[in-house]
């Protein structure tokens, strides 16, 4: 398994690049998702209070 994952002397470089990219893409994906959910929830609470 370790042999399969190994990239020789470049292992650290390759995986760091991929992990960094995945982290940035996941953050970029979830930020609008969470902000929208939070704002919708907030707005719904405000509407319920007004009632």
């Amino acid at each position: 398994m370790i042999e399969f994952l190994s990239m020789g002397k470049h292992t650290a470089f390759v995986y760091t690049a991929y992990v960094f990219s995945v982290i940035v893409l996941v953050i970029g994906f979830y930020i609008p998702h969470f902000i929208l959910n939070r704002e919708v929830k907030k707005k719904k609470n405000e509407n319920n209070k007004d009632k």
């Binding site: 470049h10 690049a17 929208l36």
Partner: protein
Amino acid sequence: MNISKIANLKYFYKHTKNVSKILSFITFSLFIVGIFWGLYIAPKDYLQGDSYRIIYVHVPAAWLSLQVYIVMAVTGFIALVWKIKIMEIISIQSASIGAYFTLIALVTGMIWGKPTWGTYWVWDARLTSELILLFLYIGIIVIYSSFTDKRQGAKIAALLAIVGLINIPIIHYSVEWWNTLHQGPTVTKFEKPSAHITMLMPLLYMLLVFNLYFVTVLIKRVRLGIFQREKNTKWMESYLND
């Protein structure tokens, strides 16, 4: 499907919730396959060894960083001239996604540069112009955020995006116009690409996946932009109450 309907904020917000979910699932699945393909299935390069595998995230991110900027500038121009609200939102929401792609392109390029060039960074024309692109994206986001009147902010941001468009051909042709450390075009030489087909296929696949990611996140961000602008309107309040 009627274009004018999609351009309608209410229609877009109501009808893209499920589209966004389906696209997210497809993008995520294809992305996993792409990572596996790039890391383990694509053959090792005879000269660079495994470090070349970084191109499967670096090149699509770099291409998208340019492509997203063009989308941002074109939609910004349409919003300025024809005052179409959804174009304004698409333009400004594209900026963050473009900044993510530019950041990935720069950082993965640096990581690839160390084992290949022996250094993380050189003030080479391609790298410097790509760094300027990141600053342009950040500038546009900061300018837009600094305005309390978001419509006014979007206009100024669109103007900056249009002016900054000059940087796109500079980035693209920098490797031909100047003697740079960065390699010349590999894939865009369509008549004779320098990469072998077994290495080229995962690259084109990842390019498709990154494009899909852009569309997916753009839909999410546009929905957020619509909500922030329209949250006090009657249609939004009745939609939330349903």
